[in-house]
């Protein structure tokens, strides 16, 4: 059953033809073409599909596309400023917190949601914030260091 759907992603209104069975992840990647959001497990466990919905992190694979209208959705593409990386992304690069990069968009958004509400997180706060984001490459240590560094940079500027 395909129906027209209008939603706001990264501040831009999109009107697309979508199936009620589409997830928000299908909508973002296949109907709108924003492929920065990744599909790892498709069942809520890995966090590679993390996006912000009304400011809170959610797994796009667990949400129906038709739940999107009326919500403010931010994907990884919405974070860079005219091609300039977000400070959290810069910190991940500087600290070796990204290797293959598949988990990185989700990690960046989980970190952003944390720092937006808690500018001075402890290591435990950081680890809790990314508990829903699996990384098969880095061993997490460098990700945690990078998020702590991004928090310090944000406080100092």
């Amino acid at each position: 059953m395909k129906t027209v759907l209008t939603c706001t992603v990264n501040g831009i209104e999109h009107t697309v033809l979508a199936d009620t069975r589409d997830t928000l992840l299908d909508l973002l990647r296949d109907r709108i073409g924003l492929t920065g959001t990744k599909e790892g497990c498709g069942n809520g466990n890995c966090g590679t599909c993390t996006v912000l919905m009304d400011g809170a992190t959610v797994n796009a694979c667990l949400i129906l596309a038709f739940e999107a209208p009326g919500r403010d959705i931010i994907t990884i593409e919405g974070l860079s400023d005219g091609g300039r990386m977000h400070p959290i992304q810069e910190a991940l690069v500087a600290h070796g917190g990204t290797q293959c990069g598949f988990c990185t968009p989700g990690i960046v958004l989980s970190a952003k949601a944390l720092l937006d509400t808690n500018p001075q997180p402890t290591e435990a706060d950081i680890r809790h914030a990314i508990a829903g984001n699996l990384c098969r490459c880095t061993g997490y240590g460098k990700i945690v260091e990078a998020i702590a560094a991004a928090a310090t940079t944000a406080r100092e500027s």
Partner: protein
Amino acid sequence: MQAFEYLRPETVEAAVAALNESGARALAGGTDLVPQMREGRRSASRIVDLKHIGELTAITVRPDGSVAIGAAATATAVSRHAAIAATYPAVASSVRLIGGVQVQNRASLGGNICNAAPSADAVPALLAQDARAVIASPQGRRESSLAELLHGPGRTSLSPGELLVSIVLPPHTPRSAAAYLRFTPRREMDIAIAGVAAWIALDARGAIAAARIVLASVAPTAIRAPTAEAKLIGEQPTSALLTEAGRLAAQDARPISDTRGSADYRRTLVSVLTARALADGCAQIQAGAP
């Protein structure tokens, strides 16, 4: 996945009307339902999204001190609610165990209850607090104990078309406290092998006036541990008594062996977790819990 229509009612009455058709299914956070539908384990011809109904997402402190939690309120909203965090900390902390932050930003109490997993983490603390359930149907509203709603793995006693509207935490009993502890191999993002919630009230002499012990993941639904509870009444909460209550709770448990743990292992966990949860409740009261 079977094709379905998606509806977004704004009142309880409209939701009940929409659900009163075969193949209709309620959607709260979707953290259980969406993957189940994608994997073909559940199907629906109509999805009724509950998140646009004010009463279902509200958390209300009533004049008598009871708290009504809308069935679709998120775990994040529940755990951050000031009155719940202050008066029912076991409820606040148990919902913080559900998945990671992303899942908690969506998962609801109603979904946790109605998905009816024996390991559902929100349920034991709610039962220990003697929570009640408000249910709406085309015939009107009824209230029941939460315990009556739980029927078995994946099953509740709700009739098709009935909607869980809210969970009501009764007013706080003076000198009482509760705790929920679960055991998981991993600290986060894991399912309990066993869990225990304990609620305890002390009298003026420090003896146990009332107790409720709820065991999770060791029976088809969360269950009370009546033998262990009976042992506690009228006694001083010494560590020997709490250990004995743990031993009795392990006998009240009806665990199975599966890939996550053997029945014997689960009984041992119940014994240890019961004593610890009771001790935690006592410590909260002695530390001046409200």
